[in-house]
Symmetry: none
Subunit: 143 residues, 4 copies
């Protein structure tokens, strides 16, 4: 790198400027202290990078997306399996019904069998009491 | 403002540093050119502001995530159960078919049994009328 | 409202100021033109509102959440049903197996029955060809 | 800058307007007080900048939504199928139970059959070992 004198001679800077420079010298210089000019140059470079980061909305958008990525991936994969497995389940119902030559059929609107009724009530009551416990836990955490 | 000499004497800076400084001098100085030290001080101030803005962006990203967290948690947990339970369902199909020594099998492409057909139609018509009611509710709320 | 003379007498404003004021007068005055002072006051009020909106990150967070709300609601409700229904499905398996006194059981790791195998292959091939068609559609849309 | 009289003569403004103007005069004028017209012009400029920033926020919200759209669409569609197919599954259970005239029923709380128990354990152990492998992969990627 060709270097030449930039002429920071005898210039006067405020106490603020000196303080900021010292802070940055410490921040950048891990092992040995950097010179003033070198530090200023690094500030310049950082300056450009930050200006770029702030100007570009897409970088913020990407930051947000990355923050959600892990959760979204889990959900996407799980819904993929749930989707696929329920399809396979229907295939198996179809094959089973075919094999057993079941012709008879009734919808739940026409007649809801006792077992389906009981199973539904059991699960709904499980979900309701789970919600109750969750609400109480949240209440306790707020106190 | 008390100003004192910061000692930028005879230091050597790269061409990059000179170019950046000149650019900023032009940017800041509307009518008259600013001195090098003054320009550097303004860069320092801008630097602090940008660092603050970037920190604010990170806080924003986290706030957004926190805002969605409750919904995402619910969805993640539910898809976890749906995934798991459909897997168990397939295991039970497999065990049941094995126990009954069912060899016969037909896919829904080859033959769609009447019960699967009727069940599908019933559910599809339920979903269609639910959507209809939802649309009407939304229309009413807009009026 | 007590009104008194604010003393905008004989002041001189730039062309920019006049143009902006005229634009706002038109924007605010639906039926009749507003006076200059009245317009300026409305600009002041809007100014305060906008400053508030920009200052508060939580308003932006809420805007983002609202934008996603409809999709999240749909997903949350659907996963709720999928979760619940698969639980009911397992209950029904349990009741059915109990009723039939099925003792025998084998996992898919030990033995994968032909029907489960065929059903899985059929669904996987359906999903694969759906993806293929989707990719082709996306390619076409990009052209 | 060409300046001409905007005609703010003898107009009447409310106390609110006067108060806001005074506040802004103080805010803008570091050393010397700005004139009313000059202050108003600066408010106008700030106004335009804020309107721009708010418009940018709306664009940002839309960009964020667009970034998530593809994942959300996949999840929405998959949960739609999982929801629908599990409903059809329950319909088929109901029809099957009706056809076989199964009256007997027991919930998993009352009695958990061996097959359901084994199937649940098998799937839970599959999920646990999948998680283990995933954690190890993530650890490796970090190194």
């Amino acid at each position: 790198m060709i270097r030449k004198n930039i002429g920071f001679k005898e210039e006067e800077v405020s106490e603020y400027g000196i303080k900021f420079l010292k802070k940055k010298q410490k921040e950048y210089g891990d092992t040995q202290e950097l010179g003033a000019s070198e530090t200023i140059e690094r500030i310049f470079k950082e300056h450009e990078q930050m200006a770029e980061l702030l100007k570009r909305q897409d970088i913020l958008v990407e930051k947000i997306y990355e923050r959600f990525k892990k959760d979204l991936d889990v959900i996407r994969v799980r819904t993929g399996y749930a989707d696929k497995n329920t399809r396979i389940g229907l295939e198996l119902w179809n094959g089973f019904i075919f094999t057993n030559d079941q012709q008879n059929y009734i919808t739940t609107d026409e007649y809801l069998t006792k077992p389906v009724q009981v199973a539904t009530q059991k699960v709904e009551s499980d979900i309701a009491s789970y919600r109750q416990r969750k609400l109480e836990r949240e209440k306790k955490n707020k106190m």
